[in-house]
């Protein structure tokens, strides 16, 4: 059962059942696809057929070869939520995600820090992060299932990829990096969720949460004089003169495509990397790679 209130897309004050919502979604999806393609003026018979087919089967809504399916995008994000959720649960309480939340094919993580001795402010933050990320895992899993997809199980994660996390400072530095990565991934993938306004809006809401996480972690890092190294060339680590991870021009936070995200996650990107080399399938925090259909730099 979806955790979303099934709000009608056409009459927002009304709730609908899943069948009704699906009809609405396909109608809006179809109209958007047709107007998009028609406006482009290059509509081919194949693309139009695919658009009509999308009306019949939303899983076939892949008119352009390079546009990932929504469930693929959400599963990609789910990998990053697994990465974060376990770390926060572990340092704050010594636990990990439940078996149900990790999925039936889940692999146990390695390099978990265990419950760390944290000061009161940091502990409160770690607990809040753990709560939010656990909710994100659960929400993504249920959303993917509602859309007819299969949520990936948790892949192998090695939390000691950059050295064992043994102190509050190391935890905060890592958490700051994970959050920067996750937020930018949602920014970069928003464009692939446009065919489903409900999912797009939820993704924007998750992004708002991740941004809050980043701001809180920035304060803690700066306040405790902790260095959190740049994950790639777009990253702006927190410092007394830069509380916020934004580009100096336009004050926009980074956007990363899946290759850039995986370049960081797989340990291929350095502080000067703008775009990692293509073709990496594993490494860093994901020794066997992420799960799902989007797994390569």
């Amino acid at each position: 059962m979806s955790k979303f209130p099934l709000q009608s897309l056409l009459c927002p004050t009304e709730t609908v059942n899943q069948d009704q919502l699906e009809v609405e979604r396909r109608m809006l999806n179809f109209e958007k696809t047709m107007s998009h393609l028609t406006r482009r003026g290059f509509l081919s018979a194949f693309a139009a057929t695919a658009a009509v087919a999308a009306m019949a089967d939303p899983q076939k809504a892949r008119a352009q070869a390079t546009t990932p399916a929504i469930t693929d995008v959400l599963n990609f994000a789910l990998n990053l939520e697994y990465l974060e959720a376990n770390l926060y649960l572990n340092v704050s309480a010594g636990t990990t995600l439940s078996a149900a939340d990790m999925g039936s094919g889940a692999v146990a993580a390695t390099g978990l820090p265990g419950k760390l001795t944290l000061d009161a402010a940091t502990l409160a933050v770690a607990q809040g992060l753990a709560t939010d990320e656990t909710h994100h895992v659960e929400l993504l899993r249920s959303t993917i299932a509602t859309l007819g997809g299969t949520p990936i199980s948790q892949p192998l994660i090695n939390y000691a990829a950059n050295g064992a996390i043994t102190t509050q400072a190391m935890f905060l530095a890592t958490a700051r990096q994970f959050t920067a990565l996750g937020g930018s991934a949602y920014v970069g993938s928003a464009q692939f969720l446009v065919s489903n306004p409900t999912v797009l809006t939820a993704a924007a809401q998750i992004l708002g949460a991740e941004g809050q996480h980043a701001g809180v972690l920035s304060f803690l890092c700066v306040n405790q004089n902790i260095t959190s190294p740049a994950i790639d060339a777009q990253d702006v680590p927190p410092s007394p003169s830069n509380y916020f991870t934004v580009a100096a021009m336009n004050a926009l936070s980074p956007s990363r495509n899946t290759s850039q995200v995986l370049g960081v996650a797989y340990g291929k990107s350095t502080a000067t990397t703008t775009a990692p080399a293509a073709g990496s399938l594993m490494g860093g925090f994901f020794p066997n790679g992420v799960n799902g259909n989007i797994k390569s730099t």
Binding site: L10, C11, P12, T13, E14, Q20, E24, M27, F30, K32, S35, L43, A45, A48, T49, A51, V52, A120, A121, A124, V125, G128, D132, H135, H136, E138, L139, G183, V187, A190, Q191, V194, P197, L200, T201, A204, Q205, I206, L207, G208, A209, E210, G211, Q212, A214, G215, V216, S218, F219, L220, N242, Y243, F244, T245, V246, M249, N250, A251, L252, S253
Partner: protein, 290 residues
């Protein structure tokens, strides 16, 4: 439809699909008696008029999808407001005139604050820079997509009934509230930017930045034991047990333009209001009403 196979043409597909859409639309719309045109944009259509069934709270449903330019200009109003707010508390002056547009309103009620805490003063400065950048960026983006950016509306930074900003604490409390409104406005308008993928991405980047702002301010409020009251029923003030402003799904709030303006116009629960509070003459642009 014909049973003889012929290659589908754009016209045939469009016609078939249009019929399919109309059939499904008719079934759906008959059930709801969906009005194809509501009252003038910005005014409330009650749920009864929509035939959408009884909702618990009237929601200002936009009849037609707001345009990308409308949405970006709506956001620009908020950025003008925040930029002026932060620039005033740090410098005693407002947004530089070159960034106000060709027909700007006036700004009253702003005043410099002598910050005591280094983080608070530092945050105010960096927030001012970020929001000034956002004003310029949105103006340029609106122009780039062929629209006209609104000029700065008239602003009152010290409206009646609102605590004056004179200290670290009053500044932090207010700034935290303003950022939370901004994030939720961007989240609520993302679905109206789907026809411009770059624009959608930019909006997501600004959303993330505003969320970073709120997070930082929340942790600062908690560290300094400062209360920042809830702006409405969705808002969760920062405390040690509520570090993050997220719901039971871990989600940031979403607000419609109406809900945003009920806060900014100081008109909670009122519908059809077009000015007040921080915006004595209302917002500029096409999305102006609670």
């Amino acid at each position: 439809m014909s049973h003889v196979h012929t290659e589908p043409t754009l016209d045939s597909i469009t016609a078939d699909a249009a019929n399919l859409t109309r059939q499904r639309s008719a079934a759906l719309f008959n059930r709801r008696a969906f009005a194809t045109s509501l009252a003038a944009a910005g005014t409330l259509a009650t749920v009864g008029a929509l035939g959408c069934g009884t909702g618990s709270v009237p929601v200002n449903v936009v009849a037609t999808t707001p345009s990308v330019v409308d949405v970006l200009n709506f956001a620009l109003n908020l950025e003008y407001f925040e930029a002026n707010f932060y620039t005033f508390v740090t410098t005693g002056g407002g947004l530089q005139s070159g960034a106000q547009g060709t027909n700007p309103g006036t700004v009253t009620g702003g005043a410099k604050v002598s910050f005591v805490n280094g983080f608070v003063g530092g945050a105010a400065l960096q927030l001012a820079l970020d929001e000034q950048e956002h004003v310029n960026f949105l103006r340029n983006t609106i122009t780039a997509v062929g629209g006209t950016p609104i000029s700065m509306p008239t602003l009152n930074l010290a409206p009646a009934g609102v605590t004056a900003i004179t200290s670290d604490a009053t500044f932090l409390a207010a700034a935290r509230q303003f950022e939370t409104v901004g994030i939720s406005a961007y989240a609520g308008s993302a679905q109206y930017l789907v026809s411009t993928l770059p624009g959608l991405t930019y909006a997501a980047q600004i959303l993330d930045t505003e969320a970073q702002h709120e997070g930082f301010l929340r942790e600062l409020c908690i560290a300094l034991n400062i209360t920042s009251s809830a702006v409405d029923s969705q808002d969760i003030p920062p405390t040690t047990s509520t570090v993050f402003n997220t719901n039971t799904n871990g989600l940031n709030a979403v607000r419609t333009p109406s809900q945003v303006l009920q806060i900014l116009y100081a008109a909670p629960g009122a519908i059809g209001v077009t000015k007040g509070g921080y915006f004595p003459n209302g917002l500029n642009g096409n999305i102006v009403s609670t």
